[in-house]
Amino acid sequence: MGTNDILDVNWQFARAFPEPRLQPHLRLLAKKLQEGHICIDATPATTEEDALTGINYLPEKDLSELKPWVGNATTISPFILHRRRLYLHRYFHYETSLLSNIQRLLSTEKLYRTDYLNKLQEQTALMKELAATHAVDGLPPHLAADWQLAAALMAAIQHLTIITGGPGTGKTTTVAKIIWLLLSIQPSLRIALAAPTGKAATRMAESLQSTTLPLPGAVKSILEQLKPSTLHRLLGYKQDSIYFRYNEEQPLPYDLVIVDECSMIDVTIFAKLLSAIGPKTRLLLLGDKNQLASVEAGSMFGDLCNQTEAINNFTDTTRTLLNDCIPDAKRKIPTSTPNAHPLAEHIIELQYSHRFNINSGIGRFSHAVLHNQTDILESFLNQPPNAEVQVINPPHETALEQFLTGYKDYIQAADISEALRLFQQQRILCATREGKGGLYDSNQVAEAWLKKQQLLQPDNGFYENRPILITRNSQQLNLINGDIGIVRTINGQKKVWFDVGNGQVRGVSIHYIQNAETVFAMTIHKSQGSEYNRVLVRLPDNTHLPLLTRELLYTAVTRAKQQAIILSSREVLKAATAASVSRASGINARMDEI
């Protein structure tokens, strides 16, 4: 152990447990937890660095014999060795709880299946309304199939339904269809709508309310009354506690719980959410499996959706049932190889993007990013300025400055609610906080440029028109981490103004605001759950950053609805798309425990 290790938080973690032989494993476990993994391999490979610093890992057998420290699935020990993986007891417990709750949902839904099927039979008239209408000519069967309707039908007969899909694939529309269908079956249906962040929850509710589906008045009015909430609030946040008001003992009092942006949920919240789903509640999980996972440990949504053999996989009986409801022959669900995966029939991937067709810029680019198609990516280098996607190589300031002119409108808008709306039209997205091209640098560049244009007079405090991002929840101020506001003096009072929906705003005195930062630019992680007309993505000038992955780039680009500009060298772009996040968990391996 070198002297610098005293300040290495991973060694600090390991040394809190006075068993020297275990400490190398614990150091690695701590390191991996911070990288988002929830366990490590019981016999980790010794890296070159480990060898240099004299780190030796015990063989699995010896590890399992460090008894008071290391236990198995049935013991209470700080560390658990299970199926060749070493966990903190805490995370093993969450993973186990997650699996057993999935199992519980799967078995309870079986009890109600006949009843649900009978009720569904009564809704045949509705099927025509719920069916897809877009043109499918020329599309292969997996794209033409009406997955949205299939998802709606499955949600009506199951207690756990997972829907994944990229931007514009109609997740919200599917939710609207599900609500419509279920309300028709059970008019007193109690619905909860939540997402990991307040922003994402609000966006979901707003999109639901503005759906173009020909909803009956009653359904519409129920949608209008839906109060979106953060997952924490839904579960009943308790001051100073990691537990919630709603849990297995007191399940959520709803018939349908819809959770959007599930890729951002870490293992702890995921497990707690599943525990709080009662025996009569349907859970609907939505997200984009290709997006970045949570900053905290665990990528449960991705892990579940990675059960590829379970995706869009139905038994013949179920497929017949679904296809009986799909009126258009071209949109029938294609056959799949039957398998006994416990999550089969429960994961539906929406494959057809209504926003970006496969040939559109953002659609093609993001697809190429996900599949690391370098030749396609290459074609996006140095496109004309009006192209939907442009990769500016080498990155130059002119493009950035050009983009910054877009912030002029909000500064010049006289009305604060209009300013808030205009500010949300575009954003700079950064991979890192520090360094050139990082968050701090980008905000500084933006401020300096806007100052040069005499649009702003930035100082270290709450200068006029400073856009800010709230970085910590404050119950007292009713502010949520992720809320965005603008500083303005109105009627002699300098406040930060926030949009509270329906064009209404609310001001909070600058003196109360404590945890906030400037937000001309934000990190890609923070941008999840939000969308903008235009985004400018700044990648760092370093090909070796571990966080630079295809998921990161995919997430950044898919925040854009109209245009995405990427400032990146060819090498960095290549490095990013070549790397992919893979987080260790036991979910895959433990599916057989369900």
């Binding site: 005293i6 600090q12 007193s188 100073d240 009092p253 905290e296």
Partner: protein
């Protein structure tokens, strides 16, 4: 060559003269000129004054009288040995005290410190300081000591040991003076001196010592010495005058009828009483006749036509006037603001009051008083500095200001934080202290700690209070760091709070409140505390001072991260201090305990003061010494408290100066008197004095400093008739709080404040949330019950987003001794959730969680409550009749909304568990839940306990229609009550105001408001503050409350006893 003595009452005049003399002394611009002063403040001021006179101040070196002996030694000889100073000899004396020889020779002295190592270093420090003083005040004694062979006195013994140890390497001052005198006889050396020094200018020196005089006498034969001295009454010879009081005292003492010719002339009591130091200095100087012959007093400024109180006093002093010669003081003078005495409750208030005075002065004469013309002297600058920053940084009108003389070791800087670390004790390791350290930027940076709020919450939850390890036998282990850190570390790993036996052998409940990234914040704290413990362990071994210095260096390296840009200067200064300290102790190789080392080392850190702030501009705040005689338009003195000023002379009995006093001795009391005299004279237009004249807790009057008292009496005596009752009017007594009603717009009897804008007296309300568009909505039963429990809380939370919590600000440093009434109530309620057979296990769990007092005390308290809980539980069991709990869904269509929720019942019974003895807050929510069941026409009965009585309502007693009407009432109230307060006070019945319904409306309103003002329920207090219990709302409040009571009373008259 010569002595020149210039006397004046005006420092400005003397400075002009100094400038002239410097100009004449040497036309060579490269010739250095030497001024000897006593304070840095004076140097700064003189630099300015000379520049005004000569256009430039250059080539001037300032020295102190203490330095001048060593300097002359350097100037006269090529190889000068260093001078003995207190710092150098402390550890050497300590070492001598350690010698068996000393202990055998002076057993009585050795006895004093033998069992008390700290006393030994304290004695060494005391002696070092004394030896320092003896050298200049008792140089003949030192010479005698040096000359005699044997030593009978222990001081002499030690001195001789030092002398023998240092030999010629380090010289004492009398020795140097001897050498100097010899050197001055040597032509070559004299020429060397003359080349270097053309003259010495002693400016404003108040204290002259015999050693200096002896040196000057010889020196003056070779180079010119100029003395510029202040004399408050230069035109009169007052040195032999006596005050009337002194005469009376002498008379009483002699018990004689002395003829009047035996008395000296009486004089001005302030001048004579406070001028002792001047008197002594002049007396010493005049021992040399040449000086009397070279006295010049052409620079006297005669005060003309004094108009203000301050000017009158200054003029009286100038004339040494007494009795009828004094200027008459009238009522207007007392209020003319030239001399103000403020009595305040606390130092904070003193600073606030000072701020208000200053703004008032500046406002009255815009542009005439610049901040730099204001000087504030504080009796203890370290006490006042934080208040000064707090008040002046947040005030509406800003004054630029500088705080000087603050001890470097105060506050959040490197010195302060190191001091903090040094004082940390193994036995205590108090949680709040560690948290303070964790909040220090040096430590945060080093360990990467960012979220101290989380750490605070976690330490609280882990019940860490003090001690590294604690003791098993008295359970103090449960509140120790080792135990708590284990709870935290196992909490990272183990979830679900099981009882867990650690591999280290402790039984504990892992702290299940941290997960995710927060774990790593706590990992860093864990590492910090472990590191601290390691360093504390190292203190157990005795080691030489040099090694202790290395220990301090290691502590700085291991625990602090220094940012070169921010703290580079402090760091360099600290390192220099450590290096120097190490050299002072380099010859002392005996091992000492940490306690002994730290006792002295910390004190040495304390002595480092920040001088660099001096005179950076703006209002200057400093301690009493450095700027005392320098003229300013406005001078203020803070902290002129009883017993604190003049400071007491605390000299040890073995101090030879105390045993054989001599003229010119250092005397703190006289120095302080002199200081006040100089300050009084240096204030050009305003003198503001403040002191703590009232006890903030008991509100008792406390007199001011005896000297301020003298001044006040002097003023009152100047009023014809000398009515001492006027004292009270003259001293301005300020209220306890700055927001007191006594502050207004300066009307009659009103004080003025600029710190509390008047409008803030009206409670500021937060911005309301925009009104939600009314929709037919669903109401959760949970919310409905929350609302009816306290409609005002509901309104304040929902409409104004006002959440009021009592936050515990500091971590507790002792274990719990009592649960308190509320705590006992909570414990009882909690126990009711469990069958009595599990109480033993619960006791153990609660003890480990830190929720009970430790050891037997906790057991007794627990058992008492458990017995009560058992009775209640069994009673409850009787009502349950073995029926299991079940949840009933509620879905009711009310006229205003749909009501949904769940109600728990035991079979056919709804049981309100006794939450508290009076059923106070629970009755309305419980009844509302019951109405939900009855509205659905369920045959369920209601059971609750009120005081000692069981109340049962059968289903038949409440019809579904009645139940619906109650729910309609509550639901309507809730919807309205979100927008404006629903005026209902369910608890009223139980408040003391119960009987006020019989009184008139005004009486009730008054009583209710008075009571709620101090309600423990902060929401009620707030609603009251906003006026919702006032007369305007009263009728509606009464009607609603009476309706609600009446409703329940109708169902069962036992529920609420109505009059």
């Amino acid at each position: 060559m010569s002595y020149q003595l210039y006397i004046s009452n005006s420092l400005e005049q003397l400075s002009h003269l100094l400038a002239d003399n410097l100009g004449k002394e040497s036309p060579d611009v490269f010739q250095q000129q030497h001024i000897i002063t006593q304070t840095q403040g004076m140097n700064k001021w003189l630099t300015g004054q000379i520049a005004i006179q000569q256009g430039i101040t250059a080539q001037i070196a300032f020295h102190t009288p203490n330095d001048i002996i060593g300097l002359l030694h350097e100037w006269l000889s090529e190889k000068a040995s260093p001078v003995i100073t207190a710092e150098k000899i402390r550890w050497q004396i300590w070492k001598e005290l350690n010698q068996p020889e000393f202990q055998q020779t002076f057993p009585a002295i050795a006895q004093y410190y033998r069992e008390h190592p700290v006393r030994q270093i304290a004695l060494a420090v005391e002696l070092a300081d004394l030896f320092d003083q003896y050298q200049i005040y008792r140089h003949s004694t030192i010479n005698d000591w040096n000359d005699t062979a044997s030593a009978t006195d222990f001081q002499q013994y030690l001195w001789k040991k030092l002398h023998a140890y240092y030999k010629e390497r380090v010289l004492d001052k009398p020795g140097i003076v001897k050498k100097l005198k010899k050197a001055l006889a040597n032509k070559d050396q004299l020429q060397l001196l003359r080349n270097r020094v053309k003259g010495l200018h002693f400016f404003g020196i108040a204290v002259i010592t015999p050693l200096h005089l002896e040196l000057f006498k010889t020196l003056a034969e070779h180079i010119p010495l100029h003395f510029y001295l202040m004399n408050p009454a230069p035109l009169y010879y007052w040195m032999d005058d006596e005050t009337e009081k002194a005469q009376i005292k002498r008379k009483q003492k002699n018990k004689l009828n002395m003829p009047s010719g035996d008395f000296n002339r009486p004089g001005n009591s302030l001048l004579l009483g406070w001028g002792t130091v001047i008197k002594d200095s002049f007396a010493l100087l005049f021992q040399q006749e040449e000086l009397i012959n070279e006295l010049y007093d052409d620079w006297v400024v005669t005060p003309e036509n004094p108009t203000t109180l301050l000017q009158k006093i200054q003029a009286d002093i100038f004339k040494n006037a007494w009795g009828e010669d004094r200027h008459i003081i009238n009522e207007t003078d007392l209020r003319d603001k030239s001399l103000v005495v403020n009595s305040c409750f606390t130092p904070a208030r003193e600073v606030e009051v000072l701020y208000n005075e200053l703004v008032q002065l500046v406002e009255a004469r815009p542009g005439e008083i610049a901040p730099r013309e204001i000087l504030v002297l504080c009796s203890n600058i370290d006490v006042y500095a934080p208040y000064i920053q707090a008040v002046f940084d947040n005030a509406p009108y800003t004054f630029p200001y500088t705080i000087s003389d603050e001890k470097v070791s105060q506050g959040q800087n490197l010195f302060g934080q190191l001091q903090h670390l040094l004082q940390l004790e193994e036995e205590s390791m108090i949680a709040e202290e560690i948290l303070d350290l964790a909040e220090s930027k040096f430590i945060r940076r080093r360990f990467g700690i960012s979220n101290t709020t989380l750490i605070r919450e976690t330490l609280q939850a882990a019940n860490i209070r003090r001690d590294i390890a604690g003791q098993q036998q008295n359970d103090t282990r449960l509140v120790s760091w080792e135990y708590g850190l284990q709870r935290i570390a196992y909490g990272w790993c183990i979830s679900g709070s099981p009882l867990y036996k650690t591999p280290e052998g402790d039984t504990l409940i892992p702290l299940d409140s941290i997960e995710g990234d927060n774990i790593f914040e706590l990992v860093r704290l864990h590492a910090l505390v472990k590191e601290l413990i390691t360093h504390l362990e190292e203190r157990k071994r005795n080691r030489p001072v040099g090694e202790w210095i290395n220990y301090v260096r290691a502590m700085i390296t291991d625990l602090f991260s220094i940012n070169e840009e921010e703290d580079g200067d402090d760091y360099q200064e600290l390192i220099a201090h450590l290096d120097q300290y190490a050299t002072y102790a380099e010859d002392v190789t005996d091992a000492v305990s940490y306690e002994v080392f730290n006792h002295h080392f910390s004190a040495s850190l304390e002595s480092v003061t920040r001088l660099q702030n001096f005179g950076r501009g703006g209002v200057l705040f400093c301690s009493l010494i450095p700027m005392r005689s320098i003229p300013h338009k406005v001078v203020a003195m803070l902290g002129m408290n009883y017993d604190e000023f003049p400071r007491k002379d605390r000299r040890p009995d073995f101090d030879l100066q105390k045993q054989h006093p001599a003229r010119g001795d250092r005397n703190i009391r006289n120095n302080d008197k002199h200081l006040l005299l100089e300050t009084l004279l240096s204030a050009r237009e305003h003198l503001i004095i403040s002191y703590q004249g009232q006890d903030a807790k008991q509100n008792q009057a406390i007199p001011p400093s005896a000297l301020v008292d003298e001044l006040i009496n002097y003023i009152i005596e100047g009023i014809p008739g000398a009515d001492y009752r006027k004292r009270k009017d003259f001293i301005v007594q300020h209220p306890l709080h700055g927001f007191s009603g006594r502050y207004g717009n300066g009307g009659p009897n009103q004080l003025i404040t600029y710190l509390q804008p008047l409008q803030t007296w009206v409670p500021a309300k937060k911005t309301p949330m925009p009104a939600a568009t009314p929709k037919r909505s669903t109401i959760e039963l949970y919310d409905l019950c929350t609302f009816i429990k306290s409609p005002f809380t509901w309104y304040l939370q929902k409409k104004w987003q006002l959440y009021l919590y009592e936050e515990e600000i500091l971590l507790e440093d002792a274990e719990i001794f009592e649960l308190g009434k509320q705590g006992e109530k909570n414990l009882l309620n909690e126990l009711l959730d469990y069958p009595p057979s599990t109480y033993d296990a619960l006791y153990k769990k609660m003890l480990l969680l830190g929720r009970l007092p430790l050891s037997n005390r906790g057991r007794i308290i627990f058992d008492g409550i458990a017995a009560e809980a058992k009775t209640l539980y069994e009673e409850l069991d009787g009502i349950r009749m073995g029926q299991p709990i079940q949840s009933i869904s509620i879905n009711l269509e009310l006229s205003v909304a749909t009501l949904k929720g769940v109600v728990d019942v035991y079979g056919d019974r709804l049981i309100v568990r006794q939450k508290n003895s009076k059923l106070k807050k629970e009755l309305f929510p419980a009844f509302t839940r019951y109405c939900c069941l009855r509205a659905q026409n369920l045959p369920i009965s209601f059971h609750c306990r009120k005081k000692d009585k069981l109340i049962t309502i059968d289903a038949a007693q409440l019809s579904p229609e009645q139940a619906m009407s109650w729910l309609e009432f509550v639901a309507k109230g809730m919807i309205e009550g979100t927008e404006k307060p629903f005026l209902l006070f369910p608890e009223w019945k139980n408040a003391k105001t119960e009987h006020y319904f019989d009184n008139g409306k005004d009486g009730i309103v008054e009583a209710l408001q008075a009571e709620l003002q101090y309600s423990q329920d902060q929401y009620l207090a707030k609603a009251n503050e906003w006026g919702y219990f006032g007369p305007a709302y009263f009728d509606e409040l009464k009607a609603n409350t009476e309706f609600a009571w009446g409703f329940l009373n109708n169902i069962d008259k036992n529920l609420i006893k109505e009059k």
